[in-house]
Amino acid sequence: MMLQYILRRLLSAIPVLFGILLVTFALARMIPGDPCRAMLGEKATQATCDRFIREKGLDKPIHEQFFIYMKDIARGDFGTSLRFSQPVTRILGERLPTTVELSFSALLISMTVGIPLGIISAVRHNSWVDVLTMVWANIGVSMPVFWLGLMLAFVFSLLLKDTFLWLPPSGRVSAGMDTTAFYVAWNLNLPESGFLRAIAEFIGRLNILNSLLTGNWELLRDSVRHLILPAVALGTIPMALIARMTRSSMLDVLGQDYVRTARAKGVRMNQVILKHAFRNALLPIITVLGLSLGTLLGGAVLTETIFGLSGVGRILYEAITARDYAIVQGFTVVIAVFFVTLNLIVDISYAYIDPRIRLN
């Protein structure tokens, strides 16, 4: 049953993925001006352009071009960045770990703070904790992430400069920090290229995970300190959304008969809240979690720009200002596919939590 459901969801994602490719393809075609000079720069000669157009198949009919584009992407070829003269995939591989680390910590912060706060305000309905949480949650969802980031930097990097609360305003690690990757520290003999190498490099660039793997506590401390401000800035909106949804979902469930029955049977309140109520309140919370992922990925562009982190978001922003279309197109596809995959996981976890969904 479960497997069937997962298969059905996977199949239904195919038209969406196809649509994503179609939209990014269409957006790239709609960029005004000469595609050759947009990709190769203003100074490209007519001969280079003619060759470029023939190589890229831009003289072919539009449906054939779309086919070529899909074939390129299926092979993992997103073109070459104009600014860095490097394949888009390599740039992506270098930048993605920063964004993954940032979004993951932001999500972690938002869940570990948002869910307990939501539960407490539901259990202590209309108490001062509840009122404060809701005021704060309302402000949290209305906060521009770029403003919050700048204000956090102002407070923690400038006002608290000479205290132990000082946190660095930009970058991932301090200058001169030893960031030796785990596969180098462990003397692993990895092939120079290929899938295994790519995975190892990816993990090696996740500073926190890498520092844990190599036992480099100084690097761990330093990366965590650098990560706190951007992660809090990015995590605040999802945190507020999660707290609000947890609260209203818990309030709904706590009013149900089976909760009263459990209480009447003499089950402890804590037990009822966690085992009976929270489990059933989980579905709407996961929905919000899934929705927050989009906010998170969009917010990453802004957060990385403010905190000088060279992640996917920052490069995307720079690529836009530099009109580096290959990067914009490639990154948009990758982020959208990533987003669809995450939503798929959210959907599947629905079915896991609530068996009724599988049957529909």
Partner: protein, 313 residues
């Protein structure tokens, strides 16, 4: 909030209803005003609309006027408020001077106008298109519905801000293009709301009755079915204004929306973001204004949702 059932309207009293008919709007207003938070939201919105309408009279300076040679002020000067002890012989600038030696407070007041226009216009655009698409899909079903909803799925597959960024990249930076981009990305949520309402009443007897009486498709769809979609649309729209303002500010912050010297909050913040350590007032005030505006629409939207929710009656 969820579990309170007002005892007065819990029982259905046919006589009372026929004698004194209370309109839905009456009930909604009354419930809306019972909540302090929605009142706060509405109050802030009224104040913002007032500021937007009267900006040219209440702003002490022209938002575009460079004050070099006119007043003795320095670039990015801190706020000077006479009431808080700023010397009387200095010109008063309650939010300081910006990087181009203009009065920040006046720019902020004029920014209100732009933000409200942004919020209302994008949401109106998205509602009109979303409603038509959702209504067509829900009413006709079949392949029309399939195509429309798959396109909406694709739009929803992109994180909204990123899709807006991609669209603006194609169209070119500028306020109008940014508005268009935000409008396009918010279409799916309205289309979905309308489609769901249409689906829920499409087969009801009163709709069939209209059809039997010879009502045309247009009449059935827009006179009989669409009024049912109105309440969810109002709630979604109010909340959507907040999101639209936030997204537009983000685009302007990145330099993709309103261009200088337009007094737009996101753009004002974006152009001074590197000065946050030296001139924090230039970052604090525009951001605070964005937050307050978005907060107001969110509070009102939440209040409307609860007030219009029939389950809570």
């Amino acid at each position: 909030m969820m579990n309170q059932t007002p005892p007065t309207i819990a029982k259905l009293d046919a006589d009372a209803i026929s004698l004194e008919s209370v309109s839905l709007w009456n009930i909604t207003w009354r419930r809306l005003f019972k909540r302090k938070s929605s009142l706060v939201g509405l109050g802030i919105i009224i104040a913002l609309v007032f500021i937007a309408l009267t900006a040219q009279w209440i702003a002490p300076y022209d938002p575009l006027q460079v004050l070099i040679g006119i007043e003795d002020v320095k670039m990015r000067q801190a706020p000077c408020i006479h009431l808080l002890g700023c010397p009387q012989d200095q010109p008063q600038h309650i939010m300081g001077i910006d990087g181009n030696v203009r009065d920040q407070f006046s720019r902020l007041l004029f920014g209100t106008r732009l933000s409200l226009i942004v919020g209302f216009s994008t949401v109106t655009f998205a509602i009109v298109i979303g409603t038509v698409l959702g209504a067509l899909g829900g009413y006709f079903g079949g392949w029309i519905d399939n195509i429309i909803m798959r396109v909406m799925d694709v739009l929803l597959a992109f994180p909204s801000l990123l899709l807006a960024i991609a669209i603006v990249t194609v169209l070119g930076p500028g306020l109008i293009n940014a508005l268009l981009a935000i409008g396009i990305v918010s279409i799916p949520s309205y289309a979905r709301v309308v489609r769901a309402s249409v689906l829920s009443v499409r087969e009801m007897d009163y709709v069939s009755a209209t059809r039997a009486l010879g009502g045309g498709t247009f009449q059935i769809l827009f006179m009989r079915i669409m009024p049912n979609a109105l309440t969810p649309l109002i709630v979604q729209g109010t909340l959507g204004i907040g999101t639209a303002i936030l997204d537009a500010a983000a685009l302007s912050f990145l330099g993709l929306g309103a261009q200088p010297p337009t007094p737009e909050w996101g753009a004002m913040l974006g152009s001074e973001r590197n000065q946050v350590f030296t001139a924090p007032h230039l970052v604090f005030f525009p951001g605070f204004a964005i937050m307050l505006t978005v907060l107001a629409f969110n509070l009102l939207g939440d209040g409307l949702r609860d007030a219009l929710d029939p389950r809570l009656k």
